[in-house]
Amino acid sequence: MESLVPVPVVLPLLAAALKLAIGGRLRRTQAFISVGTLAVVLAVSLVLLVAADRQGPLVTNAGGWPAPFGISLVADRLATVMLTVSSAVTLCVMVFSQAQAYADQEQAAPLAIFHPAYLIMSAGVSDAFLTGDLFNLFVAFEMLLSGSYVLLTFGGTESRVRAGATYAVVALVSSMLFLVAIAVTYGATGTVSMAQLAERFTPLPGSVRLLVELTLLLVFVVKAAVFPMSGWLPDSYPTAPAPATALFAGLLTKVGVYSIIRLEALLFPGGPVGGLLMWAALATMLLGVLGAAAQTDIKRMLSFTLVSHIGYMVFGVALFSVGGMAGAVLYAVHHITVQTSLFLVAGMIERRTGTTSVDRLGGLLGLAPLISVLFFVPAMNLAGIPPMSGFLGKLALVRAGVADGSPVALTLVAGGLVTSLLTLYAVAMTWNRAFWRTPPPDVAGAGTVLEGEETPEDAEGSGGAEGSEDAESPEGAGGSEGAGDPGERGGPGGPGGPGGPGGPDGPGEARGPGAAGAGRARGTEGITGREIVTSVRMPPPMIGATAALVALGLSYTVLAGPLSAFTVRTAAELLARRPYISAVLGSGR
């Protein structure tokens, strides 16, 4: 069983390497490799989850070098549950992105760049969850961050590059701080193995311990987008390609949360930091949700709720009780799933209408009932409407807060409930305007070409370019419904492609590209930043992937019993610390 532990890291890397070596050729095989790899990772994660729950933490030493010397990979309950949920999400988003790229008739770039970056990023996320070594955690962060830089700036439109600059520089600064913190850690303790660190931090003088703890916390807080380091997130996420945003929203911030949990539970149990975290959590929740209430763009609104709800998890950690930790883990599981599905739906809305700006949307309930359902369910889940998982996580946290009983904790409970109310207000506002309201007259019909930010510089030279890495020419793809052919894009307001009719919008309503391009909202680009062709019919895999995630979010309600019991066991294991330490360093310790 232990030998399976590195699979979630090694397998995606293997696939990425293979894809790089293949280049842009063999489209079907490549799609199969991506999806197959991630499916296997999901299966392995599930197996690990069950094994870690039954037998305690599973440990593998990379290179065969035991813990204090080498790097150990540790699959305990926390790691495996995060791993499982994240790989489920990764798989769904991969299916979604492939369908989107296929429908956009973007083949070469996604295969040659998007997929390897995606796979490496997911390997980085897995490594971050699994590693038992502080320095390797840094490496894992670098992996997932560098992958995310590529995905974020994919297509290189001006808005994406600008957002990418903010994102990358903030991430680099936090990486630098991470390195400093690791250096200080090694200086003070002479080790970077987390299990050994857990033993060696305790006897250190208070100031040094606090300094290290807080610096590491600052690093993770940047990753998790907790106040005061939350500003970068809503500035950078919404512009990325829809699947990338969805993946970031689900996973990257949760890696930060995961690290905070590890840090507080394993390395620095107790201490005065809990109080600081509480206030940070409160500020994160309230500022985030007020930001969400002020947005008129769905993606931006979702980015703000993303920040806001990180506060819930931090609150749970800061309580430092079994209930609080369990609540934080439960909420993380819920939040990964729901936030990702919402961003995917936002991607579909964009594809259907060409915008995610609420001001320019309307009447989606009638136009796209399926998208409406797929939005409504996770949106209400996010707002914590029972009996969905958002409520379960919130309930666990409220119970833990009330059980704590301190004035700060009760303030946080109140803040959390206010946040919940405002989240509901924000999503209901969006629903009212984007889904219910009669659409404003200038909303683009299906089949409309919305120009990208920059005109493709050599779209005409796509055909017989020499070079072995060239993809099959797009004309070969054909058959994708709704999307206009590249040849049609220059034409004046053409009908919505071969598969277009049948939707409520007749072809006559489609408008010319020149008129539609004028008022486009920020961030309306396809996966590679090209212009978007809106379409009535969504490719079935896109719908399927999103629906699968929505269903996953709902399944937590059915599985609430085992799931919540599991999170309680997870929290108990975390707070006991001993299982982790003795699994890594040997039971004698």
Partner: protein, 930 residues
């Protein structure tokens, strides 16, 4: 209970399909689940079977599926299921055949019915909360049924936010109650109520929830607004079922906590206020539905008063009123729905002559309104009598309550009259309103409900006995109250007569009374709500504008300022080591020299006026670091650092071609440079200080010093490369992928949307002549060549490659390794490119960069996989010593394979960077120049 709920859920999910299949007749099918519920409830009542079940759901969260129905619950269940079935029946003809959105409407309505059933049968606080919020959610969807109506959307949002506000407060209260009592089971809580501590606060929170749900002042505004919903919804949710949830909860908890004085006094006074205000507002309304809505608000206030008086008598009256109200109010709403559809309006200023054109409808409405006004022999009369009787006696407070209730009843009588005359009267000088025919399916439900209001009256005493088990749970008997068709008690009868007479007078006063009612507009909580919403929106917008600056420098300053704050916090909260820290300034003389130089370049960097100077200065810090490594006795690191720095410098310079020479001037930085400089200084101090403190605090032996032995035993003589490719090879693998993915990023940005990523071969005009090719043939046009450089580059190319391979192989024992080797190989390409341009690069490059990186990564990862497959651990090294003839003993190891992978990856990376930042930029520049 669970099968019933599942039945509702299934029906709700299937509703859209059913409607698509059967049109509006689908409502007949949808009426089945509530009808089943009704049958079940009747069966339970008649046979006396206890309704109780418990299933675990999530014990760790305190959630359980506990259901239990006592007399009160059974009463509510009867109302919820019975009226639910009737309303769905009504829907089947109320809507016109092809109306849009019927599927989702039916689904939401049945789902609501299920949630409501669960709510009144739940025996667990948290489960009750689950159903509570579900009813809120479905109410939101039902109110917004007509998405085109702005009023409807606003009302839906208002109802949602107001009731969820209360609901969330209630959740907090529930959890506090549950934690205090140690159980969330309602039956146990009521039997053994917790006291003291947080319980009063918890009760206040719970009460907030109940009041908001039942539209008690100050939360009453949402209910009249919710009349934007289709009439069946108003009849069911906003008269019979959902709004009763709050009252139900009060009734549930009142036996246990009614003695808590603040809770009781607050609820009773708010109830009274609501009863009077609502009644008064109803006198002014011209829209029949809104008139009824204010009437409902008033009656809900009445019910709140009764249940929170918390005596047996009052509870009995409350239970009777609960049933009576549901019957007559649902009936009246349904009648209004018929009138609205048949006459095309529900404004009582426009209606006329309906008494003649629809006599049966008028009879039904009169019966229901009579029950509402409290006329004998209707059930409403019996309930009101009991209420008056139960409020007799007691102190001043009780008498004031009685007075308020009588006043409220007078108002009720007045608006009942107003309703009847408005809807069915024939004012002089108004043409009779034309009336379209209406179906039996719409007429039957209101008629049935109205008849029940009359038929139930003779069974009033039976009803009272049936409620005994519930009323008996109240500790205080209070004044005796009798529920009977004709109790014969003189005082209540007098009060009833007085109320009716006063009501008639109020009605007769007509507009004068209504004008007085205009004053009430000033205390309209709806205005407060919208002001609050606007305020929140404005506040949110402004706050976000301040917090979310969207400025990268700001975010960085926040980060560094936080770091400074962290240092201060750490020093304040943790004792510093008592012994002064030992600081060794330097061990070798080179170190301070290099250090000062490094610091100087760092200080100079911000003053650099052009990009190229900046790049050089940054490069200098890199070279300086390499020197420091060397001075520290670490040639491996020094060499790697040197190579990397050189490569970075080349990359920088290549990119700079596309940037303006001088950085764009910042528009007057918001934060003065001095502050930034200070922040930088503090950051440096914190980092350095933390290092000094940390090393001085160490008491354990560092792992690094313990590593030499094991490493040597494994055959490595160079500890640095042993760390890189064996002990911590997992890190190296990770960082290799980082290199790869970042290179991909560069490629993706530079090539943007070009479909081909291949290097361009020389164009046709420059093609070498067919036939023999010459080793030193130029690829550049004659005018642009630097012949000497080009030739030298070609001559050292292979030497460099050889050196790189040498480095690759010596890594295991001495200075070198795959990474250094890869960079040297890459530098050989750099030299070729710099000398000969992009076509030269195309000639020199062995194969596609992507393929190289892919192969390299594949080798490294395959080594990892090999270790997993055969050694149980990723990257476990295998080695073998082979005796090769002529060469001698050769040490082969998978470590070498891993290193080779790194070598290839790095080579691919350099080539890719040259291809994108070099060749592709060349091409773009040329194109622009053309």
């Amino acid at each position: 209970m669970e099968p019933l709920l599942i039945l509702h859920a299934v029906a709700a999910v299937c509703a859209p399909a059913l409607v698509r299949r059967f049109g509006r007749d689908a409502f007949l099918v949808l009426a089945l689940p509530p009808a089943c519920g009704f049958a079940y409830t009747l069966w339970a009542v008649v046979t006396g079977t206890p309704v109780a079940s418990h299933h675990d759901w999530a014990p760790a969260l305190g959630l359980g599926l506990s259901f239990r129905a006592d007399a009160l619950s059974l009463l509510m269940m009867t109302l919820v299921t019975g009226i639910g079935a009737l309303v769905l029946l009504y829907c089947s003809r109320y809507f016109s055949a092809g109306e849009e959105g019927l599927g989702r409407f039916g689904g939401a309505l049945v789902a609501f019915a299920g949630a409501m059933l669960g709510l009144v049968a739940a025996d667990d606080l948290l489960l009750l909360y689950v159903f509570w919020e579900l009813t809120t959610l479905f109410s939101y969807l039902l109110i917004g049924q007509d998405p085109a109506s702005r009023a409807g959307r606003r009302a839906a949002l208002q109802a949602l936010t107001v009731t969820t506000f209360g609901g969330l407060a209630m959740l907090a209260g529930f959890v506090m109650l549950g934690e205090a009592a140690g159980t969330y089971r309602i039956s146990q809580l009521v039997a053994h109520p917790p006291a003291g501590g947080t319980v009063p606060a918890a009760l206040a929170l719970v009460m907030t929830g109940a009041l908001s749900k039942s539209a008690i002042f100050p939360f009453s505004m949402w209910l009249p607004a919710a009349m934007a919903a289709p009439t069946p919804v108003s009849a069911y949710l906003h008269a019979a079922a959902m709004v009763k949830a709050g009252v139900y909860l009060l009734a549930r908890l009142s036996p246990a906590f009614g003695e808590a004085v603040p809770w009781r006094v607050a609820a009773v006074s708010l109830g009274l206020l609501t009863m009077v205000l609502g009644g008064w507002r109803a006198l002014r309304e011209n829209d029949l539905k809104r008139l009824l809505a204010y009437g409902t608000v008033s009656q809900l206030g009445f019910l709140t008063v009764l249940f929170d008086t918390a005596t047996r008598g009052a509870a009995l009256a409350g239970a009777a009123m609960l049933g009576a109200h549901a019957l007559f109010k649902a009936s009246l709403f349904l009648v209004v729905g018929i009138v609205d559809h048949a006459a095309g309006t529900r404004d009582l200023r426009e209606l006329s002559g309906l008494r003649r054109s629809a006599p049966w409808l008028c009879a039904v409405a009169t019966a229901a309104a009579a029950s509402m006004a409290g006329l004998p022999p209707f059930f409403g009369f019996s309930a009101k009598e009991a209420a008056f009787e139960s409020l007799l006696g007691g102190g001043l407070g009780r008498s004031a309550t009685l007075a308020g209730v009588v006043l409220g009843s007078a108002l009720t009588a007045a608006y009942s009259l107003r309703f009847l005359t408005g809807a069915f009267g024939s004012p002089p000088g108004r043409e009779p309103t034309p009336l379209a025919p209406y179906g039996a399916a719409t007429f039957l439900p209101p008629a049935l409900l109205a008849v029940l209001g009359l038929a139930a009256a003779p069974f009033a005493s039976w009803y009272g006995r049936a409620m005994d088990p519930y009323t008996a749970t109240f500790a205080v008997p209070g004044h005796d109250a009798h529920l009977a068709l004709w109790s014969g008690a003189p005082v209540p009868l007098l009060l009833s007569a007085a109320a009716l007479a006063a009501g008639a007078l109020l009605f007769a006063a007509g507009d004068r009374g209504a004008r007085a009612g205009r004053l009430l507009r000033t205390i309209d909580s709806g205005r407060v709500y919208w002001a609050l919403v606007r305020g929140t929106n404005r506040f949110a917008g402004q706050l976000t504008g301040v917090v979310q600056r969207g400025s990268l420098p700001d975010y960085l300053m926040i980060a560094f300022a936080t770091l400074a704050g962290i240092a201060a916090f750490a020093l304040l909260h943790g004792p510093v080591t008592t012994a002064g820290p030992v600081v060794v300034l330097w061990k070798r003389a080179e170190q301070p020299v290099v250090g000062v130089l490094l610091a100087a370049t760092a200080v100079l960097a911000p003053f650099a006026r052009s990009h190229i100077v900046l790049a050089l200065l940054v490069g200098l810090t890199g070279y300086g670091t390499a020197l420091l490594f060397l001075a520290h006795g670490s040639p491996d690191l020094a060499m790697t650092q040197l190579l990397v720095e050189t490569l970075s410098l080349v990359a920088f310079v290549l990119v700079l071609r596309r940037l303006p020479i001088v950085p764009e001037e910042e528009q007057r930085p918001r934060v003065p440079p001095a502050v930034r400089a200070a922040l930088g200084l503090v950051t440096g101090l914190v980092a350095a200080g933390a290092g000094v403190l940390a090393v001085n605090a160490r008491s354990e032996t560092p792992i690094g010093t313990l590593l030499a032995g094991p490493a040597e035993r494994s055959g490595a003589t160079n500890i640095v490369s042993a760390l890189l490719v064996d002990i911590r090879a997992w890190d190296t693998l990770g960082e290799t992928t980082v290199l790869v993915v970042l290179t991909l990023g560069v490629t993706s940005l530079v090539f943007l949307r070009r479909r081909t990523y291949a290097l361009e071969r020389p164009p046709a005009g420059h093609r070498r002549p067919p036939g023999r090719t010459y080793w030193l043939t130029a690829t550049l046009p004659p005018g642009e060549r630097a012949a000497v450089l080009e030739v030298v580059a070609r001559m050292i190319f292979h030497t460099l490659l050889l050196v790189s391979v040498f480095l690759l192989f010596t890594g295991h024992g001495s200075v070198g390794g795959g990474f250094a080797g890869g960079i040297v190989a890459g530098l050989s390409l750099v030299v070729r490119y710099l000398a000969g341009g992009r076509y030269e690069l195309a000639v020199a490059a062995p194969t596609g960069a992507g393929v190289l990186m892919g192969l390299g990564l594949l080798l490294s990862v395959a080594t990892a996989a090999l270790g997993m497959a055969f050694g149980g651990a990723p990257l476990r090294a295998f080695s073998a010593d082979l005796a090769v003839p002529l060469v001698g003993k050769v040490h082969l190891s998978t470590v070498l394979l891993f290193d080779l992978g790194i070598y290839l990856t790095v080579l691919g990376m350099v080539q890719d960077i040259l291809r994108s930042l070099g060749a592709e930029l060349d091409r773009q520049i040329e194109e622009e120049a053309r």
